[in-house]
Symmetry: C2
Subunit: 366 residues, 2 copies
């Protein structure tokens, strides 16, 4: 429990100056290799460990990124954080992590704290409602580089999924499978849910089907119970939907429960598609068709961008990176092929092939 070893201690013991010790430890060229060895030797012997707080005070760099997310137990954010961590740690950055619990006020407080802690940059999945002056009123004037993830706000760098496309390819897939009365269990009022809804509407319209408002029901993103209730509502609508595009896998799972408890068959009587490609989607009662968002990539690209900004890169316009989604068809929506893990190519329709080529588009667009 003795006091931590400092440069000063080393200097005194070696009877040289602090700055020489420091130079030696930094392997600077203008130090004789003799003293270098002596210093290194002594440092190791006493288990010297540089105080990065002190260093940060003078360098004005902490090598720490602040990360604000609504809930790190959701597999989506956990994966994104993992992606962030991978890129950050490779560049010798560390993460100061905050859970905001979807509470904008708490987010604001945590943000202040992270700034006080002098983080070098921020990655934020904001709990603020769309239209909030988050960027203009808060983040921009901090002077600290930041990148938004998942939840989009205008006039800022953003990395996330292409939500409109997610909604579009999910819905289009259901159409291809022959479903016509396609309902949508939408998410709450955040940009992702709005984008997915728009994609859904576009696909429906393109197919020449009318968008019915009573086919659109809102559910919380992360609670299966919400999906279950929402689906119950949908099943009471007349005419009854023959498919549902759920804005998340948890919603889809709740919907599956409702449908099965109602005695209807999936995918025979009702088709279901979710979003997120949850690890256990394939092991459910009915293996769940879904749209993969490549969450790791979202985290990685956000971090690469942030690091560039920290290194001083100037960008004229906010960069918006949309990571390309990918349909993962499984049994829950597969009228046209057996409920195997992957469809055999020879049963896919022309529409299927079109979609396939779409999917080979660039990973991300800027």
């Amino acid at each position: 429990m003795s006091k931590p070893v400092t440069l000063k201690h080393l200097a005194k013991l070696l009877k040289i100056s602090v700055s020489t010790v420091n130079a030696a430890l930094h392997d600077r060229s203008d130090i004789s290799s003799a003293t270098k060895r002596r210093v290194l030797q002594k440092a190791r012997e006493l288990n010297y460990r540089p105080n990065l707080v002190a260093r940060s005070l003078v360098t004005r760099r902490t090598q720490v990124l602040g990360v604000l997310v609504p809930d790190l137990t959701r597999s989506f954010f956990a994966e994104v954080i993992k992606g962030i961590e991978q890129v950050a740690s490779a560049a010798n950055y560390y993460l100061l992590l905050c859970n905001t619990g979807e509470d904008p006020k708490r987010e604001d407080v945590e943000l202040e704290a992270l700034l006080s802690k002098q983080v070098d940059g921020l990655i934020v999945a904001s709990a603020h409602p769309p239209g909030s002056p988050l960027v203009r009123k808060r983040l921009s004037q901090t002077g600290v580089p930041f990148v938004l993830v998942d939840r989009f706000f205008p006039n800022a760098h953003f990395v996330g999924g292409d939500d409109a496309k997610i909604g579009y390819i999910a819905t289009r897939h259901l159409l291809q499978q022959g479903y016509r009365r396609i309902a949508h269990l939408r998410g709450p009022k955040v940009s992702t849910a709005i984008g997915r809804l728009q994609g859904y509407q576009k696909a429906i319209r393109e197919a020449g089907v009318r968008v019915r408002d009573d086919y659109i029901v809102e559910a919380p993103y992360h609670e299966e119970s919400g999906g279950l209730e929402g689906m119950r509502k949908l099943l009471r609508v007349s005419p009854q939907p023959d498919a549902v595009f759920a804005a998340s896998d948890p919603i889809a799972i709740g919907a599956l429960e409702a449908i099965i408890k109602m005695g209807l068959r999936v995918p025979g009587e009702i088709g279901v598609v979710g979003v997120g490609n949850h690890r256990y989607g394939q092991y459910l009662r009915v293996p769940l068709s879904t749209v993969d968002q490549d969450r790791l990539t979202i985290g990685m690209r956000a971090t690469s961008l942030l690091l560039e900004l920290i290194e001083g890169k100037q960008l004229q316009k906010p960069r918006v990176v949309l990571v390309n989604p990918k349909l993962v068809p499984r049994s829950s929506s597969s009228r046209s092929f057996a409920p195997a893990e992957s469809p055999s190519p020879d049963v896919s329709s022309r529409l299927d092939k079109e979609t396939a080529s779409r999917q080979t588009a660039t990973l991300a667009q800027s």
Copy 2:
């Protein structure tokens, strides 16, 4: 992008000294309310934000806890971290989070970095093998308070599940359900898997059944594929097991797949119990019986303990907190009652009741 406002700036503008400004901002009693108001007003006006790096340098406190986990995308660790975060943030502590990827070398490196960053305490789920001198050789001599979670090592404060009990109640449950040839898909060589194995063996022996080595097969904790392969091996053993206690839910899920693909019925021909109470266990092809570990509590208690240590609490002996596990019976092991979510009390045997009373034991023992 102007320079951040400092105490000095405020002092100059208000034509008073830095220490007065500081005292005013800290609301110390020996400052006239007049100057207090002036200072507060100016600070708000210029959006003054204290530099906590500088403060830490002098107070020798960072209000940051270092957290080292093998993989934050596993739902177990994600939940534990959430528990940590809740307690920490309530006490105004922040988390510096590191993923070690189950690599002991990386863990060592990250540990050094966290110490250099002057964290006030550490919570570690170590990737070191059991028997490694982790505590004696590394953590203890850092001088920084630390608490181990999940993976047990001797001579250190520890908070985790009661793994022996987990193995015991899972296996005993299978015995109660009438299964007799109970196999075990054990986890890798870490303390949790060893404890669960021991609990399994104890229950088997108590039932007067011989422990068969060929009924014990190892699988990675977090890969369903491992559970699947392991189960295939078990199904080739003669006589074929009629039940399996899997050391984790992912292993159990893989096992379920193997069993179902083999054309056997669960729970009729083979019973399955996992560990972890994964969120989606109830939605699987066969709703999965499991043992709940109360992961949030593990994180919370570890953090409370760590904060006490940081506040200077002295403990003679290492404290070992074992959070009490709870059986969550579902269809996959339920020969004796209908595959409903919860068993009706009148069908439970005398053995059941015994177990129930066990479960109401204290939440945690020290």
